[in-house]
Protein backbone atom coordinates (compact mmCIF):
# COMPACT_ATOMS: atom_id res chain seq x y z
CA UNK A 1 0.00 0.00 0.00
CA UNK A 2 2.67 2.46 1.05
CA UNK A 3 4.87 1.46 -1.87
CA UNK A 4 2.16 2.22 -4.36
CA UNK A 5 1.44 5.53 -2.67
CA UNK A 6 5.09 6.48 -3.02
CA UNK A 7 5.26 5.54 -6.68
CA UNK A 8 2.14 7.58 -7.42
CA UNK A 9 3.71 10.56 -5.68
CA UNK A 10 6.85 10.09 -7.76
CA UNK A 11 5.01 9.93 -11.08
CA UNK A 12 3.08 13.04 -10.08
CA UNK A 13 6.30 14.91 -9.44
CA UNK A 14 7.71 13.79 -12.77
CA UNK A 15 4.58 14.84 -14.63
CA UNK A 16 4.46 18.25 -12.95
CA UNK A 17 8.17 18.79 -13.66
CA UNK A 18 7.72 17.84 -17.32
CA UNK A 19 4.76 20.20 -17.73
CA UNK A 20 6.70 22.97 -16.01
CA UNK A 21 9.67 22.47 -18.31
CA UNK A 22 7.41 22.40 -21.35
CA UNK A 23 5.73 25.65 -20.30
CA UNK A 24 9.11 27.30 -19.81
CA UNK A 25 10.43 26.10 -23.17
CA UNK A 26 7.41 26.96 -25.28
CA UNK A 27 8.16 30.71 -25.74
CA UNK A 28 11.65 30.08 -27.10
CA UNK A 29 10.50 27.33 -29.45
CA UNK A 30 7.45 28.87 -31.09
CA UNK A 31 6.70 31.83 -33.32
CA UNK A 32 5.17 34.90 -31.75
CA UNK A 33 2.01 34.18 -33.75
CA UNK A 34 1.70 30.75 -32.20
CA UNK A 35 2.42 32.25 -28.79
CA UNK A 36 -0.46 34.67 -29.31
CA UNK A 37 -2.68 31.70 -30.11
CA UNK A 38 -1.56 30.03 -26.89
CA UNK A 39 -2.16 33.20 -24.88
CA UNK A 40 -5.70 33.46 -26.21
CA UNK A 41 -6.15 29.75 -25.53
CA UNK A 42 -5.13 30.19 -21.87
CA UNK A 43 -7.61 33.04 -21.48
CA UNK A 44 -10.26 30.91 -23.11
CA UNK A 45 -9.30 28.14 -20.70
CA UNK A 46 -10.22 30.39 -17.76
CA UNK A 47 -13.67 30.93 -19.27
CA UNK A 48 -14.05 27.20 -19.89
CA UNK A 49 -12.98 26.66 -16.28
CA UNK A 50 -15.81 28.98 -15.26
CA UNK A 51 -18.16 26.67 -17.16
CA UNK A 52 -16.58 23.76 -15.31
CA UNK A 53 -17.36 25.34 -11.92
CA UNK A 54 -20.93 26.14 -12.88
CA UNK A 55 -21.81 23.12 -15.02
CA UNK A 56 -19.29 20.49 -14.02
CA UNK A 57 -19.45 21.08 -10.28
CA UNK A 58 -22.83 22.68 -9.67
CA UNK A 59 -24.82 21.29 -12.60
CA UNK A 60 -26.09 24.65 -13.83
CA UNK A 61 -25.65 25.66 -17.45
CA UNK A 62 -25.03 29.24 -18.54
CA UNK A 63 -24.84 30.78 -22.00
CA UNK A 64 -23.71 34.15 -20.65
CA UNK A 65 -20.05 33.37 -19.92
CA UNK A 66 -18.71 35.37 -22.90
CA UNK A 67 -20.74 38.33 -21.68
CA UNK A 68 -19.21 38.03 -18.22
CA UNK A 69 -15.80 37.80 -19.86
CA UNK A 70 -16.67 41.07 -21.62
CA UNK A 71 -17.67 42.72 -18.36
CA UNK A 72 -14.28 41.85 -16.89
CA UNK A 73 -12.50 43.21 -19.96
CA UNK A 74 -14.41 46.49 -20.07
CA UNK A 75 -14.02 47.06 -16.32
CA UNK A 76 -10.25 46.70 -16.66
CA UNK A 77 -10.11 49.00 -19.68
CA UNK A 78 -12.12 51.69 -17.90
CA UNK A 79 -10.36 51.42 -14.57
CA UNK A 80 -6.93 51.66 -16.18
CA UNK A 81 -7.69 54.31 -18.79
CA UNK A 82 -10.27 56.56 -17.09
CA UNK A 83 -9.34 56.20 -13.44
CA UNK A 84 -5.63 55.62 -13.99
CA UNK A 85 -5.32 52.80 -11.47
CA UNK A 86 -2.50 50.25 -11.58
CA UNK A 87 -2.81 47.01 -13.53
CA UNK A 88 -3.08 44.84 -10.44
CA UNK A 89 -5.85 47.01 -8.97
CA UNK A 90 -7.71 46.90 -12.28
CA UNK A 91 -7.40 43.12 -12.34
CA UNK A 92 -8.77 42.80 -8.81
CA UNK A 93 -11.62 45.24 -9.46
CA UNK A 94 -12.51 43.25 -12.59
CA UNK A 95 -12.63 39.98 -10.68
CA UNK A 96 -14.63 41.35 -7.75
CA UNK A 97 -16.90 43.47 -9.94
CA UNK A 98 -17.82 40.61 -12.22
CA UNK A 99 -18.30 38.28 -9.26
CA UNK A 100 -20.64 40.74 -7.53
CA UNK A 101 -22.59 41.29 -10.74
CA UNK A 102 -23.02 37.55 -11.29
CA UNK A 103 -23.94 36.97 -7.66
CA UNK A 104 -26.78 39.48 -7.83
CA UNK A 105 -27.95 38.13 -11.20
CA UNK A 106 -27.68 34.57 -9.86
CA UNK A 107 -29.74 35.46 -6.80
CA UNK A 108 -32.51 36.62 -9.12
CA UNK A 109 -32.15 33.90 -11.76
CA UNK A 110 -31.82 30.87 -9.50
CA UNK A 111 -35.36 31.36 -8.28
CA UNK A 112 -36.01 29.62 -11.58
CA UNK A 113 -35.61 25.88 -11.42
CA UNK A 114 -34.03 23.37 -13.77
CA UNK A 115 -33.26 24.60 -17.29
CA UNK A 116 -35.17 27.86 -16.92
CA UNK A 117 -31.99 29.34 -15.49
CA UNK A 118 -30.25 28.47 -18.75
CA UNK A 119 -33.01 30.18 -20.73
CA UNK A 120 -32.56 33.30 -18.61
CA UNK A 121 -28.82 33.38 -19.26
CA UNK A 122 -29.48 33.40 -23.01
CA UNK A 123 -31.41 36.61 -22.41
CA UNK A 124 -28.62 37.98 -20.23
CA UNK A 125 -26.06 37.28 -22.95
CA UNK A 126 -28.14 39.12 -25.55
CA UNK A 127 -28.60 42.12 -23.26
CA UNK A 128 -24.91 42.27 -22.39
CA UNK A 129 -23.89 42.14 -26.03
CA UNK A 130 -26.36 44.94 -26.81
CA UNK A 131 -24.96 46.92 -23.91
CA UNK A 132 -21.37 46.51 -25.12
CA UNK A 133 -22.42 47.69 -28.57
CA UNK A 134 -24.42 50.73 -27.49
CA UNK A 135 -23.04 52.08 -24.22
CA UNK A 136 -20.58 54.48 -25.84
CA UNK A 137 -19.29 56.04 -22.60
CA UNK A 138 -18.12 52.77 -21.10
CA UNK A 139 -17.44 50.49 -24.05
CA UNK A 140 -16.73 52.85 -26.92
CA UNK A 141 -19.81 51.55 -28.71
CA UNK A 142 -19.26 49.95 -32.10
CA UNK A 143 -15.75 51.44 -32.33
CA UNK A 144 -14.62 49.62 -29.18
CA UNK A 145 -11.78 50.67 -26.93
CA UNK A 146 -8.25 50.79 -28.29
CA UNK A 147 -4.81 51.56 -26.88
CA UNK A 148 -5.33 49.90 -23.53
CA UNK A 149 -1.97 50.11 -21.74
CA UNK A 150 0.01 46.93 -21.12
CA UNK A 151 0.09 45.05 -17.86
CA UNK A 152 2.73 46.53 -15.57
CA UNK A 153 3.90 45.88 -12.01
CA UNK A 154 6.60 48.20 -10.66
CA UNK A 155 9.26 48.36 -13.34
CA UNK A 156 8.07 45.24 -15.17
CA UNK A 157 6.01 45.87 -18.30
CA UNK A 158 4.42 42.97 -20.16
CA UNK A 159 4.82 44.44 -23.63
CA UNK A 160 6.20 41.45 -25.53
CA UNK A 161 4.27 38.34 -26.42
CA UNK A 162 6.60 36.26 -24.24
CA UNK A 163 6.21 38.41 -21.13
CA UNK A 164 2.44 38.39 -21.63
CA UNK A 165 2.65 34.62 -21.89
CA UNK A 166 4.27 34.34 -18.48
CA UNK A 167 1.85 36.77 -16.82
CA UNK A 168 -1.12 34.82 -18.15
CA UNK A 169 0.48 31.45 -17.37
CA UNK A 170 1.14 32.48 -13.76
CA UNK A 171 -2.46 33.65 -13.30
CA UNK A 172 -3.87 30.53 -14.89
CA UNK A 173 -1.74 28.24 -12.70
CA UNK A 174 -2.68 30.15 -9.53
CA UNK A 175 -6.38 30.03 -10.36
CA UNK A 176 -6.25 26.33 -11.25
CA UNK A 177 -4.55 25.52 -7.94
CA UNK A 178 -7.11 27.48 -5.94
CA UNK A 179 -9.86 25.56 -7.72
CA UNK A 180 -8.30 22.38 -6.37
CA UNK A 181 -8.87 23.73 -2.86
CA UNK A 182 -12.43 24.64 -3.77
CA UNK A 183 -13.01 21.10 -5.00
CA UNK A 184 -12.05 19.61 -1.62
CA UNK A 185 -13.75 22.26 0.51
CA UNK A 186 -17.22 22.07 2.07
CA UNK A 187 -18.34 24.74 -0.40
CA UNK A 188 -17.17 22.65 -3.35
CA UNK A 189 -18.92 19.61 -1.90
CA UNK A 190 -22.13 21.57 -1.52
CA UNK A 191 -21.93 22.48 -5.24
CA UNK A 192 -21.60 18.81 -6.11
CA UNK A 193 -24.43 17.87 -3.78
CA UNK A 194 -26.71 20.26 -5.63
CA UNK A 195 -25.56 18.87 -8.95
CA UNK A 196 -26.20 15.26 -7.96
CA UNK A 197 -29.33 15.55 -5.88
CA UNK A 198 -30.84 18.84 -4.92
CA UNK A 199 -33.42 17.49 -2.47
CA UNK A 200 -30.80 15.45 -0.63
CA UNK A 201 -28.59 18.54 -0.58
CA UNK A 202 -31.37 20.58 1.02
CA UNK A 203 -31.87 17.86 3.61
CA UNK A 204 -28.15 18.14 4.38
CA UNK A 205 -28.54 21.82 5.23
CA UNK A 206 -27.55 23.31 1.89
CA UNK A 207 -29.35 26.45 0.76
CA UNK A 208 -29.94 25.94 -2.98
CA UNK A 209 -30.40 29.57 -3.92
CA UNK A 210 -27.37 30.86 -2.04
CA UNK A 211 -25.07 28.00 -3.03
CA UNK A 212 -25.95 28.22 -6.72
CA UNK A 213 -25.49 31.99 -6.63
CA UNK A 214 -22.05 31.52 -5.08
CA UNK A 215 -21.14 29.00 -7.79
CA UNK A 216 -22.28 31.48 -10.43
CA UNK A 217 -20.30 34.26 -8.70
CA UNK A 218 -17.14 32.12 -8.68
CA UNK A 219 -17.60 31.37 -12.36
CA UNK A 220 -18.14 35.11 -12.86
CA UNK A 221 -14.90 35.85 -11.03
CA UNK A 222 -13.03 33.48 -13.35
CA UNK A 223 -14.54 35.18 -16.39
CA UNK A 224 -13.66 38.55 -14.89
CA UNK A 225 -10.03 37.48 -14.50
CA UNK A 226 -10.02 36.18 -18.08
CA UNK A 227 -11.50 39.48 -19.29
CA UNK A 228 -8.89 41.55 -17.48
CA UNK A 229 -6.08 39.45 -18.96
CA UNK A 230 -7.64 39.75 -22.40
CA UNK A 231 -7.80 43.55 -22.16
CA UNK A 232 -4.10 43.69 -21.27
CA UNK A 233 -3.18 41.15 -23.94
CA UNK A 234 -4.97 42.55 -26.94
CA UNK A 235 -5.02 46.25 -26.07
CA UNK A 236 -8.22 46.54 -28.07
CA UNK A 237 -11.77 45.54 -27.14
CA UNK A 238 -14.66 45.17 -29.50
CA UNK A 239 -18.20 44.07 -28.72
CA UNK A 240 -17.80 41.50 -31.51
CA UNK A 241 -15.56 39.36 -29.30
CA UNK A 242 -18.14 38.90 -26.57
CA UNK A 243 -20.89 37.08 -28.38
CA UNK A 244 -23.34 34.30 -27.84
CA UNK A 245 -21.30 32.15 -30.26
CA UNK A 246 -18.29 32.50 -28.00
CA UNK A 247 -20.32 31.23 -25.03
CA UNK A 248 -21.40 28.25 -27.07
CA UNK A 249 -17.78 27.63 -27.96
CA UNK A 250 -16.92 27.31 -24.24
CA UNK A 251 -19.63 24.72 -23.88
CA UNK A 252 -18.33 22.79 -26.88
CA UNK A 253 -14.85 22.83 -25.38
CA UNK A 254 -15.96 21.47 -22.04
CA UNK A 255 -18.18 18.86 -23.68
CA UNK A 256 -15.20 17.71 -25.69
CA UNK A 257 -12.82 17.63 -22.72
CA UNK A 258 -15.30 16.29 -20.18
CA UNK A 259 -16.92 17.84 -17.15
CA UNK A 260 -15.59 15.47 -14.49
CA UNK A 261 -12.42 17.44 -13.72
CA UNK A 262 -10.71 20.76 -14.60
CA UNK A 263 -8.31 18.72 -16.73
CA UNK A 264 -11.25 18.31 -19.12
CA UNK A 265 -11.29 22.07 -19.56
CA UNK A 266 -7.56 22.07 -20.39
CA UNK A 267 -7.92 19.27 -22.94
CA UNK A 268 -11.02 20.71 -24.59
CA UNK A 269 -9.62 24.23 -24.86
CA UNK A 270 -6.25 23.11 -26.19
CA UNK A 271 -7.70 20.79 -28.80
CA UNK A 272 -10.19 23.26 -30.20
CA UNK A 273 -7.86 26.28 -30.06
CA UNK A 274 -5.03 24.44 -31.79
CA UNK A 275 -7.36 22.65 -34.20
CA UNK A 276 -8.55 26.01 -35.47
CA UNK A 277 -4.98 26.93 -36.31
CA UNK A 278 -3.82 23.63 -37.71
CA UNK A 279 -6.73 22.99 -40.04
CA UNK A 280 -6.99 26.50 -41.48
CA UNK A 281 -7.57 25.07 -44.99
CA UNK A 282 -10.74 23.44 -43.66
CA UNK A 283 -11.95 26.70 -42.13
CA UNK A 284 -15.20 26.62 -44.08
CA UNK A 285 -16.06 23.20 -42.78
CA UNK A 286 -15.24 23.99 -39.14
CA UNK A 287 -18.86 24.38 -38.03
CA UNK A 288 -19.71 21.08 -39.66
CA UNK A 289 -16.81 19.34 -37.96
CA UNK A 290 -17.76 20.72 -34.54
CA UNK A 291 -21.41 19.84 -35.00
CA UNK A 292 -20.83 16.32 -36.20
CA UNK A 293 -17.99 15.79 -33.73
CA UNK A 294 -20.09 16.83 -30.73
CA UNK A 295 -23.00 14.65 -31.80
CA UNK A 296 -20.79 11.61 -32.24
CA UNK A 297 -19.01 12.30 -28.94
CA UNK A 298 -22.27 12.60 -27.01
CA UNK A 299 -23.39 9.23 -28.32
CA UNK A 300 -20.08 7.40 -27.98
CA UNK A 301 -18.62 9.02 -24.88
CA UNK A 302 -20.89 11.53 -23.12
CA UNK A 303 -18.27 12.28 -20.49
CA UNK A 304 -15.89 13.65 -23.10
CA UNK A 305 -12.30 12.70 -23.81
CA UNK A 306 -11.47 12.68 -20.11
CA UNK A 307 -14.39 10.34 -19.38
CA UNK A 308 -13.17 8.02 -22.13
CA UNK A 309 -9.68 8.11 -20.68
CA UNK A 310 -11.02 7.26 -17.24
CA UNK A 311 -12.85 4.24 -18.59
CA UNK A 312 -9.65 2.95 -20.20
CA UNK A 313 -7.67 3.70 -17.02
CA UNK A 314 -10.14 1.85 -14.79
CA UNK A 315 -10.21 -1.12 -17.12
CA UNK A 316 -6.56 -1.63 -17.97
CA UNK A 317 -4.18 0.45 -15.88
CA UNK A 318 -5.66 0.88 -12.41
CA UNK A 319 -4.25 -1.69 -9.97
CA UNK A 320 -6.73 -4.49 -9.38
CA UNK A 321 -8.37 -5.43 -6.09
CA UNK A 322 -8.97 -1.89 -4.95
CA UNK A 323 -12.46 -2.59 -3.69
CA UNK A 324 -11.09 -3.85 -0.41
CA UNK A 325 -8.83 -1.74 1.72
CA UNK A 326 -6.47 -4.37 3.04
CA UNK A 327 -6.25 -6.55 -0.04
Amino acid sequence: MKERFKSIRLTNVVIVAAIFLLCMLIPSQTSSYMLRVLNIAMITYLCVLSVYVLLGMCGQNSFAQAGLWGIGAYITANVVMKLGYSSITAFIISVIGTALFTFVIGFAFFRLRMYYFTFATVGLMTILNGLFMNWKEATGGALGISNIPEFRVGGFVANTETSKYFVILATVVLISLSLKFLFHSPLGRSFMAIRDNEIAANCLGINSLLTKSIAFAISGALCGAAGALYAFLSGYLSYQSFTYQQSTMYLIMIMLGGTISPVGAVIGTLIISLLQEWVRPLQNYMQLIYGAGIMILMIVQPEGILGGGKVIYDKYIKPKKTSTKNG
Binding site: R189, I199, A200, N202, L204, G205, I206, T322, S323
Partner: protein
Protein backbone atom coordinates in the same frame (compact mmCIF):
# COMPACT_ATOMS: atom_id res chain seq x y z
CA UNK B 1 -28.86 9.97 29.56
CA UNK B 2 -30.35 13.40 29.09
CA UNK B 3 -33.74 12.00 28.22
CA UNK B 4 -34.09 10.72 31.75
CA UNK B 5 -32.99 14.07 33.17
CA UNK B 6 -35.92 15.92 31.63
CA UNK B 7 -38.19 13.11 30.60
CA UNK B 8 -41.19 15.14 29.56
CA UNK B 9 -39.61 17.30 26.90
CA UNK B 10 -40.24 16.16 23.32
CA UNK B 11 -37.52 16.75 20.72
CA UNK B 12 -40.01 16.92 17.89
CA UNK B 13 -43.63 17.81 18.35
CA UNK B 14 -46.30 17.83 15.65
CA UNK B 15 -49.57 19.49 16.43
CA UNK B 16 -52.61 19.03 14.22
CA UNK B 17 -50.57 18.87 11.00
CA UNK B 18 -52.71 18.57 7.87
CA UNK B 19 -51.87 18.15 4.21
CA UNK B 20 -53.99 17.35 1.22
CA UNK B 21 -53.15 17.00 -2.44
CA UNK B 22 -56.07 18.17 -4.57
CA UNK B 23 -58.62 16.70 -2.21
CA UNK B 24 -56.71 13.54 -1.34
CA UNK B 25 -55.95 13.72 2.36
CA UNK B 26 -52.36 12.67 2.98
CA UNK B 27 -52.10 13.87 6.57
CA UNK B 28 -55.09 14.52 8.77
CA UNK B 29 -54.52 16.25 12.09
CA UNK B 30 -51.32 14.40 12.85
CA UNK B 31 -50.16 14.82 16.43
CA UNK B 32 -46.85 13.24 17.43
CA UNK B 33 -44.27 13.68 20.13
CA UNK B 34 -40.80 12.23 19.73
CA UNK B 35 -38.37 11.97 22.62
CA UNK B 36 -34.59 11.73 22.58
CA UNK B 37 -33.26 8.18 22.60
CA UNK B 38 -36.59 6.75 21.57
CA UNK B 39 -37.40 4.66 18.51
CA UNK B 40 -40.78 5.65 17.19
CA UNK B 41 -42.34 3.46 14.51
CA UNK B 42 -44.59 4.70 11.75
CA UNK B 43 -46.49 1.98 9.97
CA UNK B 44 -49.45 1.70 7.68
CA UNK B 45 -50.50 0.27 4.33
CA UNK B 46 -49.10 1.64 1.07
CA UNK B 47 -50.37 5.14 0.35
CA UNK B 48 -51.18 5.79 4.00
CA UNK B 49 -49.14 9.02 4.00
CA UNK B 50 -46.01 7.86 5.79
CA UNK B 51 -43.48 9.34 3.40
CA UNK B 52 -45.62 12.46 3.08
CA UNK B 53 -45.28 12.87 6.82
CA UNK B 54 -41.49 12.72 6.55
CA UNK B 55 -41.60 15.25 3.74
CA UNK B 56 -43.69 17.51 5.95
CA UNK B 57 -41.23 17.17 8.82
CA UNK B 58 -38.24 17.93 6.59
CA UNK B 59 -40.08 20.80 4.90
CA UNK B 60 -40.03 19.37 1.38
CA UNK B 61 -43.80 19.81 1.55
CA UNK B 62 -45.42 22.73 3.32
CA UNK B 63 -48.22 21.75 5.67
CA UNK B 64 -51.68 23.20 5.06
CA UNK B 65 -52.46 23.55 8.70
CA UNK B 66 -51.03 22.83 12.14
CA UNK B 67 -47.67 23.47 13.75
CA UNK B 68 -44.35 21.69 14.26
CA UNK B 69 -41.79 22.27 16.97
CA UNK B 70 -38.19 21.14 17.14
CA UNK B 71 -36.77 21.55 20.64
CA UNK B 72 -39.40 24.23 21.40
CA UNK B 73 -38.64 26.15 18.24
CA UNK B 74 -41.54 26.57 15.82
CA UNK B 75 -40.35 25.19 12.50
CA UNK B 76 -43.64 25.21 10.62
CA UNK B 77 -42.50 27.86 8.14
CA UNK B 78 -38.78 27.13 8.17
CA UNK B 79 -37.27 25.97 4.83
CA UNK B 80 -35.75 22.51 4.41
CA UNK B 81 -32.07 23.44 4.66
CA UNK B 82 -32.62 25.45 7.84
CA UNK B 83 -34.50 22.54 9.42
CA UNK B 84 -31.56 20.31 8.58
CA UNK B 85 -29.25 22.78 10.30
CA UNK B 86 -31.53 22.77 13.33
CA UNK B 87 -31.07 19.02 13.61
CA UNK B 88 -33.38 17.04 11.35
CA UNK B 89 -31.62 14.35 9.33
CA UNK B 90 -33.31 11.85 7.07
CA UNK B 91 -32.80 9.02 4.65
CA UNK B 92 -34.89 8.28 1.59
CA UNK B 93 -36.84 5.27 0.46
CA UNK B 94 -34.53 5.02 -2.54
CA UNK B 95 -31.10 6.22 -1.46
CA UNK B 96 -30.31 9.73 -2.60
CA UNK B 97 -26.54 9.77 -2.60
CA UNK B 98 -24.23 11.94 -4.66
CA UNK B 99 -23.80 9.50 -7.52
CA UNK B 100 -20.96 11.24 -9.31
CA UNK B 101 -18.89 11.69 -6.14
CA UNK B 102 -16.84 9.09 -4.28
CA UNK B 103 -17.89 7.48 -1.02
CA UNK B 104 -15.67 9.74 1.08
CA UNK B 105 -17.32 12.89 -0.31
CA UNK B 106 -20.72 11.45 0.49
CA UNK B 107 -19.68 10.80 4.06
CA UNK B 108 -18.12 14.24 4.44
CA UNK B 109 -21.40 15.85 3.41
CA UNK B 110 -22.75 14.71 6.75
CA UNK B 111 -19.87 16.01 8.86
CA UNK B 112 -19.93 19.28 6.88
CA UNK B 113 -23.40 19.87 8.28
CA UNK B 114 -22.27 19.05 11.82
CA UNK B 115 -19.42 21.55 11.39
CA UNK B 116 -21.81 24.17 10.05
CA UNK B 117 -23.96 23.69 13.11
CA UNK B 118 -20.81 24.21 15.22
CA UNK B 119 -21.16 20.83 16.85
CA UNK B 120 -17.69 19.77 17.82
CA UNK B 121 -17.00 16.75 15.69
CA UNK B 122 -13.32 16.57 16.49
CA UNK B 123 -13.21 12.81 16.40
CA UNK B 124 -14.57 12.60 12.87
CA UNK B 125 -12.22 9.84 11.77
CA UNK B 126 -12.99 7.76 14.83
CA UNK B 127 -16.72 8.37 14.58
CA UNK B 128 -16.71 7.58 10.89
CA UNK B 129 -14.83 4.32 11.32
CA UNK B 130 -17.14 3.24 14.13
CA UNK B 131 -20.24 3.95 12.03
CA UNK B 132 -18.81 2.30 8.94
CA UNK B 133 -18.05 -0.76 11.02
CA UNK B 134 -21.60 -0.87 12.36
CA UNK B 135 -22.84 -0.62 8.80
CA UNK B 136 -20.55 -3.42 7.63
CA UNK B 137 -18.80 -1.01 5.30
CA UNK B 138 -15.39 -1.08 6.98
CA UNK B 139 -13.78 -2.81 4.01
CA UNK B 140 -14.91 -0.53 1.22
CA UNK B 141 -12.43 1.74 -0.49
CA UNK B 142 -13.51 5.29 0.31
CA UNK B 143 -12.25 6.63 -3.00
CA UNK B 144 -14.50 4.29 -4.98
CA UNK B 145 -17.57 5.63 -6.71
CA UNK B 146 -21.04 5.04 -5.31
CA UNK B 147 -21.91 2.65 -8.14
CA UNK B 148 -19.54 0.07 -6.67
CA UNK B 149 -21.79 -0.30 -3.63
CA UNK B 150 -24.75 -2.64 -3.58
CA UNK B 151 -28.25 -1.29 -3.03
CA UNK B 152 -28.13 -2.31 0.60
CA UNK B 153 -24.72 -0.76 1.14
CA UNK B 154 -25.98 2.47 -0.38
CA UNK B 155 -28.86 2.52 2.07
CA UNK B 156 -26.44 1.92 4.92
CA UNK B 157 -24.14 4.67 3.71
CA UNK B 158 -27.07 7.06 3.68
CA UNK B 159 -27.79 6.31 7.35
CA UNK B 160 -24.11 6.76 8.21
CA UNK B 161 -24.20 10.13 6.46
CA UNK B 162 -27.33 11.13 8.36
CA UNK B 163 -25.79 10.10 11.69
CA UNK B 164 -22.64 12.11 11.00
CA UNK B 165 -24.86 15.20 10.81
CA UNK B 166 -25.21 14.76 14.61
CA UNK B 167 -28.96 15.32 14.36
CA UNK B 168 -31.56 15.64 17.11
CA UNK B 169 -34.09 13.73 15.04
CA UNK B 170 -33.34 10.96 12.57
CA UNK B 171 -36.04 10.07 10.05
CA UNK B 172 -35.62 6.69 8.38
CA UNK B 173 -37.80 5.92 5.38
CA UNK B 174 -38.03 2.13 4.97
CA UNK B 175 -34.37 1.44 5.70
CA UNK B 176 -34.80 -2.32 5.54
CA UNK B 177 -36.81 -2.55 2.32
CA UNK B 178 -35.00 -4.71 -0.19
CA UNK B 179 -32.28 -5.83 2.21
CA UNK B 180 -31.25 -9.33 3.23
CA UNK B 181 -31.23 -10.48 6.86
CA UNK B 182 -27.55 -9.77 7.42
CA UNK B 183 -28.00 -6.23 6.18
CA UNK B 184 -31.04 -5.90 8.45
CA UNK B 185 -28.74 -6.57 11.40
CA UNK B 186 -26.52 -3.70 10.30
CA UNK B 187 -29.55 -1.42 10.15
CA UNK B 188 -30.50 -2.41 13.69
CA UNK B 189 -26.92 -1.76 14.85
CA UNK B 190 -26.99 1.71 13.29
CA UNK B 191 -30.32 2.50 14.90
CA UNK B 192 -28.89 1.39 18.25
CA UNK B 193 -26.01 3.85 17.76
CA UNK B 194 -28.55 6.60 17.15
CA UNK B 195 -30.35 5.69 20.37
CA UNK B 196 -27.07 5.75 22.26
CA UNK B 197 -26.46 9.23 20.95
CA UNK B 198 -29.84 10.20 22.37
CA UNK B 199 -31.30 10.89 18.93
CA UNK B 200 -35.05 10.60 18.44
CA UNK B 201 -35.55 8.04 15.68
CA UNK B 202 -38.65 7.98 13.52
CA UNK B 203 -38.78 4.71 11.64
CA UNK B 204 -41.04 3.93 8.70
CA UNK B 205 -40.91 0.24 7.95
CA UNK B 206 -42.95 -2.58 6.48
CA UNK B 207 -40.92 -5.38 8.05
CA UNK B 208 -43.15 -6.01 11.06
CA UNK B 209 -40.65 -8.18 12.94
CA UNK B 210 -38.18 -5.33 12.89
CA UNK B 211 -40.71 -2.66 13.86
CA UNK B 212 -42.32 -4.65 16.67
CA UNK B 213 -38.91 -5.78 17.88
CA UNK B 214 -37.12 -2.48 18.30
CA UNK B 215 -39.72 0.29 18.52
CA UNK B 216 -40.58 1.80 21.89
CA UNK B 217 -43.80 3.25 20.60
CA UNK B 218 -45.47 3.38 17.24
CA UNK B 219 -48.31 4.95 15.39
CA UNK B 220 -50.42 3.50 12.60
CA UNK B 221 -51.50 5.61 9.66
CA UNK B 222 -54.30 4.85 7.24
CA UNK B 223 -55.41 7.30 4.54
CA UNK B 224 -53.64 10.06 6.43
CA UNK B 225 -55.44 9.32 9.70
CA UNK B 226 -53.62 8.32 12.83
CA UNK B 227 -55.68 5.30 13.79
CA UNK B 228 -53.68 4.18 16.80
CA UNK B 229 -50.61 5.11 18.83
CA UNK B 230 -48.98 3.05 21.55
CA UNK B 231 -46.48 0.37 22.45
CA UNK B 232 -46.04 -2.58 20.06
CA UNK B 233 -48.18 -4.85 22.26
CA UNK B 234 -50.99 -2.32 22.40
CA UNK B 235 -50.90 -1.87 18.65
CA UNK B 236 -50.86 -5.58 17.91
CA UNK B 237 -54.10 -6.06 19.76
CA UNK B 238 -55.82 -2.96 18.39
CA UNK B 239 -58.89 -3.97 16.39
CA UNK B 240 -58.83 -0.98 14.08
CA UNK B 241 -55.23 -1.65 13.11
CA UNK B 242 -56.01 -5.22 12.22
CA UNK B 243 -58.95 -3.99 10.16
CA UNK B 244 -56.79 -1.54 8.27
CA UNK B 245 -54.16 -4.14 7.52
CA UNK B 246 -56.36 -7.09 6.70
CA UNK B 247 -59.26 -5.12 5.27
CA UNK B 248 -62.72 -5.50 6.72
CA UNK B 249 -63.55 -7.00 10.07
CA UNK B 250 -62.44 -10.37 11.27
CA UNK B 251 -62.21 -12.18 14.48
CA UNK B 252 -58.62 -12.31 15.62
CA UNK B 253 -59.19 -14.03 18.88
CA UNK B 254 -60.04 -17.37 17.36
Amino acid sequence: MTSTLNPKKPVLKMDNVCKNFGGVIAADKIALELYGGEIFGLIGPNGAGKTTLLNLITGIYQSDDGEMFLLDKNITKVPTHRRARLGIARTFQHPRLLNRCDIKTNILMGSDLANKRKIKGGKLEEDMNMLLKCAGLQNVNLSDSIEKLSYGQQKMLEIVRALLCEPAVLLLDEPAAGLNTKEMDYIVALIKVAVQKDIAVLLIEHAMDLVMGICDRLTVLNFGHQIATGTPTEIQSNEEVIKAYLGGSCNVKS
